[in-house]
Amino acid sequence: QQQVKQSPQSLIVQKGGISIINCAYENTAFDYFPWYQQFPGKGPALLIAIRPDVSEKKEGRFTISFNKSAKQFSLHIMDSQPGDSATYFCAASRAGRGGNQFYFGTGTSLTVIP
């Protein structure tokens, strides 16, 4: 079953606008929540990540908001730019036997219109 649910599937935003992508999880064993950015023809790359002991993390124009009680987290992209157009994946991770386990959301295709 899908361990991490992500919405929306696609998003179109005007340049300068705010892009918001939402994710939800069920397993309380997850203790690390990264967001990955993927450009066409490339592998996903880590964008920003948060641990559940904080409610918000900001890096430049990118902010993760985390709600532990609701088991939800979201990515906010402020002042969205055409160069932000990519597919974004949320993920949830936990330490497992012999290494870390990562479970990805279904992805959000973001298009920022100039």
Binding site: G41, K42, F89, Y103
Partner: protein, 112 residues
């Protein structure tokens, strides 16, 4: 210098053939993974190896067989290819306890 490199980048083959994808990482990581990304971009874990030991083996047909000759390499061999195997396969690595996953650029497999 590429951190996680996969070869080949593109692979076109006929149904029923056997093919391999190779992955190498030069990051000194202990754990390596194979993910499958389908046409809807969904990233699904297939296998994970830690120090050459198989850790995760998700529900994947046994036509898929990973092999890790050493910590820096994790290859994927696929027997009797089917149309549904067409996808982009990503290799990734991490170094516990750090949680960042480093992905390769992917290998696009097309089965005709």
């Amino acid at each position: 210098d590429t951190a996680v490199s996969q070869t080949p980048k593109y692979l076109v083959t006929q149904m029923g053939n056997d093919k391999s994808i190779k992955c190498e990482q030069n990051l000194g990581h202990d754990t390596m993974y194979w993910y499958k990304q389908d046409s809807k971009k969904f990233l699904k874990i297939m296998f994970s190896y830690n120090n050459k030991e198989l850790i995760i083996n998700e529900t994947v047909p046994n036509r898929f067989s990973p092999k890790s000759p050493d910590k820096a390499h994790l290859n994927l061999h696929i027997n009797s290819l089917e149309l549904g195997d067409s996808a982009v396969y990503f290799c990734a690595s991490s170094r516990p306890p750090a949680r960042e996953l480093f992905f390769g650029e992917g290998s696009r497999l097309t089965v005709l």
